[in-house]
């Protein structure tokens, strides 16, 4: 190995070690008694889809993968979860008023329809979170149906 290459590799290793000390501030999971699926009588196949494809960013039941503990990927994971929960948190669904629930369900329907969710960067690694067109259609129909129910409440 040339001297220059050694220096570059050492420097990179040094940077990698140093950034481990920059905290990612991963959002914690707040335990709650509220069960979104039971409360809204969500069918089992839809529940499985949401748990697999949405819950790692849109709930208080996030399962952190190993790379969530290592910088710089930990920063990305932390950021995505913060943003995800800000837009929609299934674990805190009941804190939303009727109007906010309708807004959220419309958003779910649109984002899933247009392939914006789950985020493509997420499904690269979490291949099981990928949704087929058939699954997408089911999820969209479910969200639209629940919106009707919420509206009639």
């Amino acid at each position: 190995m040339s001297k220059e290459l050694k220096i570059i590799l050492l420097a990179l290793a040094g940077i990698f070690v140093i950034i481990q000390f920059i905290p990612a501030n991963k959002p914690a999971n707040e335990p709650s008694d509220y069960d979104f699926f039971a409360s809204n009588m969500v069918p089992a196949d839809i529940e499985l889809m949401i748990r697999t494809s949405c819950f790692d960013c849109h709930s208080q039941e996030v399962k952190y993968p190993w790379y969530a503990h290592i910088a710089p990927s930990s920063w990305l994971v932390a950021r995505d979860i913060r943003h995800g929960r800000h837009h929609l948190d299934f674990s805190k669904w009941n804190d939303l008023d009727k109007r906010k629930k309708l807004d959220a369900l419309d958003e779910i329907s649109d984002e899933v329809k247009h392939g914006d969710m789950p985020m493509p960067i997420y499904t690269i690694i979490h291949t099981d979170a990928k949704l087929t067109q058939e699954q997408r259609n089911k999820l969209i129909d479910w969200a639209d149906d629940l919106a009707e129910k919420v509206f009639e409440e």
């Binding site: 369900l105 329907s109 649109d110 247009h114 639209d144």
Partner: protein, 136 residues
């Protein structure tokens, strides 16, 4: 008549025809009139603002996929009441925050900016129509 003169006369006539047909094409195709529906009635003054300032991007044939994904005005009134509420809330929010029309777009088409009066009309309509649907 000489050949040259004929060509000289045909060219401006053809150009005029092109320009006129171009204009009428735009007028016919880019006009927003909401589909009549029981779920949502869009008053004329609101329709005019939506037509002038929003419809160019928020219609099924528009170029911008992002704009189309968020809102299709030509389909708005035919959505379910539950969805119309959500869309009206979105309209109210983006106008309130000054996010629409987008800044980048306004750099090119400054005349598409909403005047204060237009913004107020849009917001009041979105809010009252949404409230009415919600029975509030």
């Amino acid at each position: 008549m000489s050949k040259k003169l004929t060509i000289l006369m045909i060219v401006p006539v053809a150009l005029m025809a092109l320009v006129i047909s171009g204009f009428s094409y735009q007028n016919q195709d880019n006009k927003f009139t909401a589909n009549p529906s029981d779920n949502l009635v869009i008053p004329d003054n609101v329709n005019e603002i939506l037509d002038n300032k929003c419809f160019g991007c928020h219609n099924v044939d528009a170029k911008s996929d992002k704009a189309k994904e968020k809102l299709l005005l030509d389909q708005l009134t035919t959505l379910s009441k539950a969805k119309i509420v959500a869309k009206l809330d979105d309209i109210h929010e983006v106008v309130e925050k000054g996010e629409m029309p987008p800044e980048k777009f306004l750099e090119k088409f400054p005349d598409k900016a909403l005047t204060d009066e237009e913004a107020t009309i849009l917001k009041n309509w979105a809010k009252s129509a949404s409230d009415e649907l919600m029975g509030e």
